[in-house]
Symmetry: C2
Amino acid sequence: MIRRNVLVLPLLMVACVLGLACNVHAEEEYPLENMPMPAHVERGQGEFGVDGSFGVALEGYREPRLERARQRFLDRLSQETGIPLWRAAVENKANFTIRTAGASKAVQQLGEDESYHLAITTTSVQLTASNPLGVLRGLDTFLQLVRITPRGFSVPVVVIDDNPRFPWRGLLIDSGHRFIPVPDVERNLDGMETVKLNVFHWRFADDQGFHIESKRYPLLQKKGSGGFYYTQEEVREVITYARDRGIRVVPEFDMPCHTRSWFAGYPELASGPDPKQSSAIDPTRETTYTFLAGFLGEMSSLFPDAYMHTGGDECDMKEWEGNARIHAFMEAHGIKDGAALQARFTARVQKIVAGDRKIMMGWDEVLGPDTPKDVVIESWRGPASLAEAARQGNRGVLSSGYYIDLNQSAAEHYLVDPLGENAATLTPEQKTRVLGGEATMWTDIVSHENMDNRIWPRTAAIAERLWSPEEVRDVDSMYRRLQVVSQRLEYDGLRHRIITEEMLERMSGDPDPVALRVLASVVQPPRMYERQQLRNFSDFTPLNQMDDAVPPESETAREFHEMAKRIAGGQGTPEDWQRAREWLVLWRDNDAKLQPLLARSFLTKDLAPVSRNLSQVAEIGLHALDDLQQHRAVSREVRERNIEFLKSAGKPQAVLLLMVAPSVELLVEATSTR
Amino acid sequence: MIRRNVLVLPLLMVACVLGLACNVHAEEEYPLENMPMPAHVERGQGEFGVDGSFGVALEGYREPRLERARQRFLDRLSQETGIPLWRAAVENKANFTIRTAGASKAVQQLGEDESYHLAITTTSVQLTASNPLGVLRGLDTFLQLVRITPRGFSVPVVVIDDNPRFPWRGLLIDSGHRFIPVPDVERNLDGMETVKLNVFHWRFADDQGFHIESKRYPLLQKKGSGGFYYTQEEVREVITYARDRGIRVVPEFDMPCHTRSWFAGYPELASGPDPKQSSAIDPTRETTYTFLAGFLGEMSSLFPDAYMHTGGDECDMKEWEGNARIHAFMEAHGIKDGAALQARFTARVQKIVAGDRKIMMGWDEVLGPDTPKDVVIESWRGPASLAEAARQGNRGVLSSGYYIDLNQSAAEHYLVDPLGENAATLTPEQKTRVLGGEATMWTDIVSHENMDNRIWPRTAAIAERLWSPEEVRDVDSMYRRLQVVSQRLEYDGLRHRIITEEMLERMSGDPDPVALRVLASVVQPPRMYERQQLRNFSDFTPLNQMDDAVPPESETAREFHEMAKRIAGGQGTPEDWQRAREWLVLWRDNDAKLQPLLARSFLTKDLAPVSRNLSQVAEIGLHALDDLQQHRAVSREVRERNIEFLKSAGKPQAVLLLMVAPSVELLVEATSTR
């Protein structure tokens, strides 16, 4: 049963979320830094200290998963505090009691209860939940409450009643385009747990590779993986690892297209005469369905989850329509076009999946008028298909707007709501069919090495959208808390912060590339699909350049932009003025230090004009600050020339956007002309 | 057979090592950055490019370990370059050929051949070795040769003939004082491989805990470990992991003292009436030897290495001498004192170990006139026992001088030579008994969390001392290369650089504690045993303070000191003057930014006076720079007052040394008085 009561926030809570009142009342009442923000929070006075006397007891229903959860919780709390609680807290007298009412389902179900009640007084903590899933969520909330004070580590006195807004809160990792080693997958599962995501959508194959072991059709991995694939044993380990963290694993086997790698071992599946050139399965042969029944049957046994994702996206219809044999089949059967042929294929596959007692899920192309009502639609092309599916009686999951490979800002993702846009006009009953959303980590131009810096921390903002009440949508508060959760995610071993540093060192060959770091802090890869247009990617392109290394969103540029807005709007604080000037001086002077370094490496020499532009942009910014401060009018001509330069400096160069150019433009535009 | 020809360096090589001539000849001939430096290097013209066409073939003798070594090599090369070679390079046409003549021993032996020949031309690479050990060493050398150029990644054209100076090159990890989880152990084995260390000395028990599974005496771990111990299965995994990397695993079971944790399960072993107060095994009971024979027999089967370390250090003789029952035994048997009683115990244990066909090893206390000649002595109290052992016919390993838990500088460790000091006067034959050395990572006041920042990068300098020719001892060259190897060790997953950052964030509760980082960069924990005198450590003291977080050696302070020396000596370059001034300004202004942050956390508030001192030290330094630049004489009184202040600021405060105070003192002393 799916729980989706949208809960009303107490007033105090709203204030906290908006970052307003909480820290006004008393020194003690700082705003909560949790992400996702819990649904109901009641603050009290005082704090509960976390020190060497901390002790945790399990009460009520017990199972090994709860013991492991406690141990993981203590390991993490030890990391957060540096106090070796991992050993002591099991033996100490308990001041933290975890009470579990009963078991959760043997296989985690969509919509299973994840609610919990967390009551913290100055002397004790009580965490209660109806099943282990709620315990997991509550433990993560507690970990995010821990902070340091002049008196020690502590959590505030608080009562939290929390449950998720949506039951499907996913992260897709695409192990099809590129193989992602198990440890890289697992640390991201740790990150998912921290932000309460509960579906790991694991995609195994694409044209580039087939990366999972089939025992029934072993040539799939033997010929299609280049030697890198997950054994079934490893898959089972990951499923157990995920279950321990309250995460379902939904596998995807994308078909009938994106399937070239299947044909290396089984060329008879291919539509075209040359399996190396074909990327679509032949939907006209009966043998295809025999194969798929065998293969999907095997995978349905391997993956315990009730859902089986069979893809269905981006078929190039020309491969079928232009193939004489397939064309003849279509004519013979009255199939009017490729889309109709795909619909016929999908219907056959749906029957196979249903025969394995699984519920089929597919990308929005699989939605048609005859789609069985239990099929779940995952929208990627836009929110329309989600609303359409819901109207038609199908459930859906939103991915459009959560494409974290496209280098959008956290704010953009954050404000996308599964029940917004087209879905806003649904009836209440139709709205219940919108199950949630999924962030999608496609790996066509991201590898296991830099994947973390695309996923985190922005996915935490998406996780909050999917967990927290609809009203929680203050962007400033989100960014403030995002920085905190980003740090905490490092305790999960996530490499989103360190990877940039490591890649800059590699690019420059310098163990401490100070000036390159300064440049890197204010550039971003271009957004959406522009990056692919500016750089020639093949499957084997090394992803070791600046646009691979820097995070999708420059924190420095965002902060500078906020300052510039305040200054240009006449609202700048003395700190704004001082900090803006310090940064502009740093950027202006950086180019002279950086140029010799850039020339030494083939991976940095193309950055020379970007660095020069930064210097000139900063120079213009400093003049603008002077003009504004001294209320000095500038010549219209100079101002126009500067704005023109800033606009051109804001355009992509070396596959990078110089993010501070538009902010300096704000400053220049605020000056007056004579 | 032990190979220990000390090889003569070709002249060019010496120049490279001293960091002099190599980069003078041509733009191409930069000095090698390898650590340890190979024994023989002949440089040629040009370079071999590492790109997507790279291919590696194994020729000659083959075994699975070599396949795994190649894969690990390719994974690492992919990390170093960002080129996805891990998959491609096995399929590509080979331009790198590895030729192995034959197998190494089934169990890695002391003194087994580790030599290799690496010949790099502009078009091909040949690595040849008599067995897989040499291949491992040669692959690591290649990885350290890779660098980035304006044309791409490449290695220089070079012929290297390399073999180690000493056959015993170890790292001790003390899993006795604190349990060190397996992943933390394993990443340090990766680091050991990178710097060609070949002995992992693994210590399992101390008074604080007994951390390995005994199947014969299970109460040892059940009662003595608090639930944290290595299963025998895990131990076997680590041994395999080490063997893959050419590393022997020598276990240590320290006895008869440091053994309180044994008594939790087996109180009858204790010397004293209260096993909780006793830390020495009772050497007077026959049942003790029955137990030890059983236990050591089990461990001798578990660990394949030929050596068994039975400790023997730091016995508090009073526990025996003051015990009436034991005293009576000593009188009855004509044992004059505790030392004689220990010698009798050691002789019994040695017979047990020999009966298990193992060679006994022990700390220098076990050396006596009757010690059998095959017993290996590990010196910890000083180099004297090593020389004494060698004179007496015993072999020895040097640890004194390599105590990396004591926060000495890399230079101090680097200049300690196993054949220096007392050993320098040994005969050539006696010298062959000095097998090498071991860096010792004691964990009484270091945990698995910050262990990496104590071990690395300084242990790389010790590794070079033990591998490279005696003549390689230029400290400036060492520090230059140490910074490079420190970066490369991050590819092994070592956390020595990131841990400081993470701990500063935790201490401050600030996700980006800029000003705290500035302070942290110029302080160090006090050296040797002074830290223990200044801070009250118990077994459960959280290790989460500044002296736990910062590296044992401040790189910034070391660089500043070099600059200050040049400036004070009239040799300062314009860059020295500019950089010194920039740093001093940064430090002077840091306190105002830092104080509000420090007040917010109980882990930082004690740093307030250290921060204030830094500011004042910098202020004095800036005045001194001005005085020196303007040749301005200062009053004797002011100068004396400043020097007095600098001396006091250089003393430990909050368990920290402000490392730049003595450097500023140099500047002040260089000014003239009126």
